[in-house]
């Protein structure tokens, strides 16, 4: 089955630049989610997602149809931008929610007031599950953000973006065996970080 994004890129290469709008519409949500979950910061995620689209637009003529999947190419660009962003920040384990910085590695559980104050706008606001859902998301995002970059990237690509091992291997330029072992290692680390949350709930 032909990749629709790949077909749209071919049209862009033939001069139909409007096809790029479709590519943006189809991919902006997964791209923003990937970067936001990796960085733990939605504002930066949107900025980097836009930068990813700009770089893809510039490189329309360099795109090699059939050489790799479109998604692999897109996530490869985004991954490099994410890694650069982390290096620029120069620190790890710090993430943001809706623009409010939150220290995740202090070792103390967030208070109820913290959780409400940092609740993302997209979280369902039904009173019955608001706090519980927010607490869960906070715990999981904290655990992800505390993972080292080399484990965090493949984990997000696999368990949130649902890429295959082969696609992740291509995206990150890693051997397939290394990709699999890193993802398993990342899941084991995540399990240890979520232990207290799971056991308490």
């Amino acid at each position: 089955m032909p990749d629709l994004d790949d077909e749209l890129m071919k049209q862009c290469q033939q001069g139909n630049i409007e096809a790029f709008d479709l590519i943006v519409r189809r991919n902006q949500v997964p791209l923003v989610n990937f970067i936001a979950r990796f960085l733990g910061d939605q504002d930066s995620a949107e900025d980097l997602a836009q930068e990813t689209f700009v770089r893809m637009f510039k490189a329309i003529k360099r795109y090699k149809s059939g050489a790799a999947k479109f998604s692999t190419w897109m996530y490869h660009i985004a991954s490099n931008l994410c890694k650069n962003e982390l290096r620029n920040r120069g620190r790890r384990g710090r993430f943001f929610a809706d623009g409010v910085a939150t220290e995740s590695s202090s070792g103390t559980e967030p208070t109820e007031e913290d959780l409400i104050a940092t609740a993302p706008a997209h979280v369902s606001l039904q009173p019955s599950n608001q706090l519980e859902q927010k607490e869960r998301e906070y715990a999981v995002q904290s655990a992800i953000s505390e993972l080292p970059e080399r484990y965090r990237l493949p984990l997000v690509l696999r368990d949130l973006q649902e890429l295959s091992y082969e696609e992740i291997s291509e995206t990150l330029n890693l051997p397939l065996g290394t990709t699999k072992s890193r993802i398993n290692r990342a899941r084991l680390m995540l399990k240890d970080k979520l232990r207290s949350f799971v056991e308490s709930s």
Binding site: E46, F57, R136, L160, K180, R187, L194
Partner: protein, 233 residues
């Protein structure tokens, strides 16, 4: 199987990537290891939590900002060399690179040689003519310009020549051509005649004809002139 090995297979086990034998070994360990059973359950729960993360929707400004940024962006053109190399993959690209490198080396060597031959050195200006052109032909040319050999006074005293005019050595004719040529070589090599040992110079009997005497002399010199190549003269 120990617990560490079992942990390494958690992902493969829950994603059904283990073969039949590996599954049996893994489950046999789980049946005997309470700790691994607990860890595997926690592993599954943490993955479930991860998968339950809500989707983040981009803000309403996302599209507007992106369109503004794209409006200021131009599609980059591809340089010529990249257009040539782009369709090639793997070995083809390496092969082309190798050929290009070889061409550069050959062209460089050609111009290096050209520079050498154009340098104003005397050796290099003369040597190619004498060494590359047929040396025999050159020697013949020199021979034609040289005067014919005339025996020295010493030789003339040792050998009785009936008439000095005979030594004009014009009899280079017919079948005697090689002998005459050898005599000319003798002349080219300098004054070897004066150094001839007496034992080599056999007096010619008087009753022989002058022409014959001359030929005798020539034959002797042939023997002598061939000697240096062996004796190192």
């Amino acid at each position: 199987m120990n617990c560490l090995k079992a942990e390494e297979q958690f992902s493969a086990y829950i994603e059904d990537e283990l073969d039949y034998q590996a599954v049996r070994t893994f489950e046999a360990h789980l049946n005997t290891c309470e700790s691994c059973r607990r860890e595997l359950a926690l592993f599954r729960e943490s993955l479930d939590l991860l998968h339950q993360l809500p989707q983040i929707k981009p803000s309403t400004e996302f599209d507007v900002t992106l369109q503004a940024r794209l409006a200021d962006t131009h599609v980059e053109s591809i340089p010529f060399w990249q257009r040539v190399l782009q369709p090639l993959h793997g070995q083809a690209r390496w092969a082309l690179s190798g050929v290009a490198a070889l061409l550069v080396i050959l062209v460089g060597f050609y111009f290096y040689q050209k520079t050498l031959t154009k340098s104003p050195s005397v050796d290099t200006a003369v040597a190619p003519e004498t060494s590359r052109a047929a040396p025999v032909a050159k020697e013949r040319e020199v021979k034609q310009q040289l005067p014919l050999a005339v025996p020295s006074q010493e030789l003339q005293s040792l050998v009785k020549f009936p008439d000095s005019s005979v030594l004009d050595l014009q009899p280079v004719r017919g079948s005697q051509q090689p002998q005459s040529a050898t005599l000319d070589l003798q002349q080219l090599r300098g004054t070897q005649q004066s150094q001839l040992p007496e034992s080599d110079m056999q007096p010619v009997p008087e009753n022989q004809q002058p022409q014959r005497v001359e030929q005798n002399y020539i034959l002797r010199t042939i023997n002598y002139t061939e000697a240096p190549t062996e004796g190192g003269l």
